[in-house]
């Protein structure tokens, strides 16, 4: 697979490490009510869709940036690649 890095252009997926579902960007608040349940959901439960999947890839052997890659799990086709920091800010995180 080739991941089209937004800054570096096309890179071999071998340069990356895979983490998983992009919802992992949103770590629950450990001091909020129901934090134990929220952390259980966060750590263990996954949507695991057959089809489009937004997922985190780390450019470990490149510029060490985190990317959010939108990829079809039925075909492996990649349709969108964004910097995870941009996605996180857009979705309401401070950094």
């Amino acid at each position: 697979m080739i991941i089209n890095h937004p800054l570096l252009g096309p890179c071999d997926a071998q340069e990356f490490t895979y983490l998983g579902d992009a919802s992992l960007l949103h770590r629950p608040d450990g001091l909020a009510d129901g934090a134990a349940q929220a952390f259980f959901d966060y750590a263990y439960l996954r949507d695991n869709p057959a089809g489009l999947h937004r997922e985190l890839w780390f450019h470990e052997q490149g510029d060490r940036s985190w990317l959010v890659v939108t990829r079809d799990t039925l075909t492996h086709e990649i349709t969108q690649v964004e910097l995870a920091s941009n996605v996180a800010r857009r979705e309401g995180r401070s950094r």
């Binding site: 697979m1 071998q14 998983g20 263990y44 439960l45 949507d47 695991n48 799990t73 039925l74």
Partner: protein, 416 residues
């Protein structure tokens, strides 16, 4: 029809006109006491043991394609009982004991071959870990034997003992492990179940679960609604998709695992051999092909096919211990979709929906577990209690913090 040597002899003399299909092709009835979703190894084994061991009647197995077309036809056929942890080892030892009597039990030649498994170690620390695992195996009634270099050299003289980076220092032998003809497992269970009245319904994809007042009353399928007293789901690889129909999110990711086979060769590899410094295992099929595999591709996938980097990776590991493999040509490679659970261990349990039971999360250890998985799932479906060897496989273990993590890598499914 019972298969026997006499039967073959008789058919040979009468032009092979007496053979009948190994299982019927019935139309679905409107209601069954037990509906098993998934006509793979585990689903068929469940139906077989429900009918035979637990004497339940009116059972159906629903399969979206053809039986045995999923992971039971896509594995590397290895059976073993060499786990470390208390939650696992009794279950896998139970499974291995069932394998040992399976062919007589279901009257089908599954070519169970206990040719032994050898896990190589390449460092002192790994030797210590293997001794610990071997002791755990022996304590649970399995067999384990620590071999030194000289002993391995006698059995496997062609290994690369003096690899500069990963010299072979010894190994843990598990003599009762081995291989099985994988398709025959599905066919044998299907035939055995069919003979006991189980309806095996192929080309019958489940499209929805009918849940009324928190109770599962049946399944919507491509061939209409089928009512069910109890429903058992055994669709590893697609568990998340199916259980989403019941509103459940699972501690599971689907990943692709590749396997490979070379051209047919004369007998060279007597047993199953595994590389300790990476993830590579190899055996020789009865047709002569060297069957081998390694790690997952590492990303979520339902595609049943992988990519080239892992092929290169597995081939490099193969060359590190079996340099002679480099002269063989690769005939085929394929991929299967694995239910990778968050601790690397399976789930056999009830669900919050009454009358709906779940069997999945087999990671890439599902094939060896087939008989015990079927038995334990049938036990759970019949009695509502977990089988004594499967009490740890509860779905709530993640919330309770009682994971069964053989590799100790945590909630990272692609690392198990």
């Amino acid at each position: 029809m019972r298969y026997s040597g006499f039967r073959i002899f008789k058919e040979a003399l009468t032009g092979h006109k007496g053979w009948t299909p190994a299982w019927r092709d019935p139309d679905p009835q409107p209601h069954y006491d037990y509906v098993i979703v998934g006509g793979g190894g585990h689903g068929l084994a469940t139906a077989y043991y429900l009918a035979k061991q637990f004497r339940q009647s009116r059972i159906a197995v629903l399969e979206k394609g053809w039986i045995g077309g999923g992971n039971v036809g896509r594995n590397t056929t290895i059976i073993r009982s060499n786990y470390l942890l208390d939650g696992n080892e009794p279950f896998y030892e139970f499974s291995l004991k069932l394998w040992e009597g399976l062919e007589q039990d279901f009257n089908y030649n599954a070519m169970v071959s206990q040719r032994g498994i050898l896990n190589l170690y390449h460092s002192d620390a790994q030797r210590d870990a293997f001794i610990r695992r071997g002791n755990a195996m022996i304590l649970h009634g399995a067999d384990a034997e620590l071999l030194d270099r000289a002993q391995i050299r006698r059995e496997y003289p062609f290994l690369d003992f003096d690899n500069a980076r990963f010299p072979i220092l010894g190994g843990l032998a598990h003599r009762r492990g081995g291989t099985v003809r994988h398709d025959a497992v599905a066919w044998g269970y299907a035939r055995g179940a069919d003979q006991r009245g189980v309806d095996i319904i192929q080309n019958c994809a489940v499209t929805g679960l009918r849940i009324e007042n928190g109770r599962c009353t049946g399944v919507e399928t491509a061939r209409g609604f089928i009512g069910a007293g109890k429903g058992g789901v055994a669709v590893a690889g697609n568990s998340s998709r199916l259980m989403a129909m019941a509103g459940m999110r699972l501690p599971i990711e689907s990943h692709v695992l590749q396997a490979f086979v070379t051209e047919g060769l004369k007998p060279i590899l007597p047993g199953v051999i595994t590389f300790g410094a990476g993830h590579f295992y190899c055996s020789q099929s009865d047709k002569g092909g060297l069957v081998f595999g390694g790690d997952l591709d590492g990303y979520n996938s339902y595609a049943q096919r992988g990519n080239l980097p892992i092929i290169e990776d597995v081939a490099a590991e193969a060359m590190a211990i079996l340099p002679n493999l480099g002269r063989a040509r690769l005939l085929r490679s394929w991929g299967g979709v694995m239910d990778m659970s968050m601790d690397g261990s399976p789930i056999i349990d009830r669900t919050p929906v009454e009358g709906l039971y779940f069997n999945g999360g087999w990671c890439y250890g599902g094939f060896k577990a087939t008989p015990a998985s079927g038995w334990c799932f049938a036990h759970l479906l019949t009695t509502d209690q977990p089988h004594p060897t499967a009490t740890a496989y509860r779905i709530d273990r993640f919330a309770r913090g009682t994971m069964i993590d053989e590799k100790g890598v945590g909630a990272q499914p692609n690392r198990h």
